[in-house]
């Protein structure tokens, strides 16, 4: 499996920003990841695709150290993340947008937006942020969880853009949203990529993934079973569909 990953990543020019080698993770006593291995290159948009329960979300949570019990290696910009606490990992410049969006109900929209502290230079300015997400300015005073699902998703993405993080981990931003909103979020993600963010996107929605990604990592039973470029995916949809069981 690991040889597969290396063969897929080695030839290209851009260096790996995030390199995951033989990652194992546990929730309490049950092992969820079994030797995940893949690289994320600077400036690329990579998706993790696979069935429910394959271990995609756990991979993101392991990178962030939210899943504490892990073995193997996660190297981000030359630093080992395994063994570090969540806040230390975040401070190295990784922004995390969880699946459940995690908008705080006891905070206003504005407080939600400005909650994550600026960790380093290079984040979006407040003006740029409101330009990208105009709704959030208008609704700044209302309770965070009073927003619609789509607006909450925008807020969850928006708040990690100010911090100066260069790597964004987005967990299923399209989940449970109307097609028109999914399209809007797709546009935003493309724009973020154009601005130079490196993005790891967990996605079940293949159509959505195809529109935005450079490469796709297929996850099954807590391990990487295939890695395809976007062109390979387009050429051979059948292969991926068998993985996903659709």
């Amino acid at each position: 499996m690991s040889s597969l990953a290396i063969s897929k990543t080695a030839p290209t020019a851009a260096p790996a920003m995030l390199s995951i080698q033989d990652l194992n993770s546990w929730y309490a006593e049950s092992k969820v990841l079994h030797g995940m291995t893949f690289d994320v290159r600077e400036g690329e948009l990579l998706t993790l695709i696979g069935r429910n329960g394959a271990g995609k979300t756990t991979t993101l949570r392991s990178i962030m150290g939210i899943v504490r019990k892990r073995a193997g290696s996660i190297v981000f910009s030359g630093r080992e993340l395994v063994g570090k606490r969540t806040y230390e990992i975040a401070r190295l410049g990784i922004g995390y947008c969880p699946e459940e969006r995690a908008i705080f109900s006891s905070l206003s929209v504005r407080e939600n937006l400005f909650l994550p502290p600026v960790l380093r230079e290079g984040g979006l300015s407040d003006e740029a942020l409101y330009e990208t997400f105009p709704n959030l300015r208008a609704r700044g005073g209302s309770q965070g969880t009073k927003l619609s699902g789509g607006e909450q998703q925008m807020l969850a993405i928006a708040r990690i853009l100010r911090t100066g993080s260069r790597l964004l981990l987005l967990d299923e931003p399209s989940e449970g949203l109307a097609p028109v909103v999914v399209k809007e979020i797709g546009e935003i993600i493309k724009r973020l990529k154009a601005q130079g963010f490196t993005i790891v996107l967990v996605e079940q929605n293949l159509r959505f993934a195809r529109q935005v990604a450079d490469r796709h990592v297929v996850v099954e039973n807590g391990a990487v079973v295939d890695i395809l470029t976007n062109d390979e995916l387009a050429a051979d949809m059948g292969r991926v569909k068998t993985y996903l069981g659709v």
């Binding site: 962030m64 939210i66 606490r85 969540t86 806040y87 975040a90 401070r91 995390y96 969880p98 995690a102 705080f104 109900s105 006891s106 905070l107 407080e111 400005f114 909650l115 994550p116 502290p117 960790l119 708040r159 990690i160 911090t163």
Partner: protein
Amino acid sequence: MFEGITSQLLFGQVLLGLINGSFYAMLSMGLAIIFGLMNVVNFTHGAQYMLGAFVAWLLLNFLGLGYWPSLVIAPLVVAVFGMVMERFLLRPLQNLDHLYGLLATYAVALIVEGLVRYQYGSTGLPYDNPIPGGINLGFMFLPYYRLWVVVFSIVTCVATWMLIEHTKLGAYLRAANEKPQIVEAFGINVPKMMTLTYGFGVGLAALSGVLAAPIYQVSPSMGSSLMIVVFAVVVIGGMGSIVGAAVTGYMLGVVEGLTKVFYPEAASVVIFLFMIVSLYLRPAGLFASKESV
């Protein structure tokens, strides 16, 4: 039935109730803050309140430092004690069933109370009133110090409320109450925040202790029975609400004072009766938010 009740008695008891309420409010606020972030019911709260009064007494008798410097120093000393306790006792227990954290705070309370009692005996130690005198309001005599306690505690509670509801620091605290892992994933040192928050809650308890020293005598057991009443107050208000805890504190203090006027036999249990009724009518608490059930 109420013929024998003079306005002097009535207002006197209401004021006394407000003073008790001041302590209930400050103590239950500290408890709610600690519980909200750490999910620990702090059974050391009463002992830490007692330590506040006690450190003030020690400062006076061994260093000659009077009430005013003690009002600042004693809470800081006890808060440092609390932070050490959080860091080296509660933090290692954080990932276990919360009952271990609770029992650990109870154990510390036993040790602290036992040691103080061993060293200084169970009888109360007097502490001089720093603002003697008072004012005659016509219907009653109002001692200045009691007025000071009520005003000071209201200011403290309002300031704490402002800090939590209207500052960035407060936003971190509120967010971490809901989803500590996510807040940590934003690069915020949540473990350190827990230590500081525990220190803050403990400091509030100790501050109440210093305030109490000139009114009640300083004794090892001054905190434990008070703490149980404060538990009832917090149950009535609902664990989820910090403001609710404070408001309920004042309210029940006054209710208790009024009971002393009209039916003195029930004064010691009226708060518990309130708790029973409120558990029946509002199982989640008067000021409960959705999550706190």
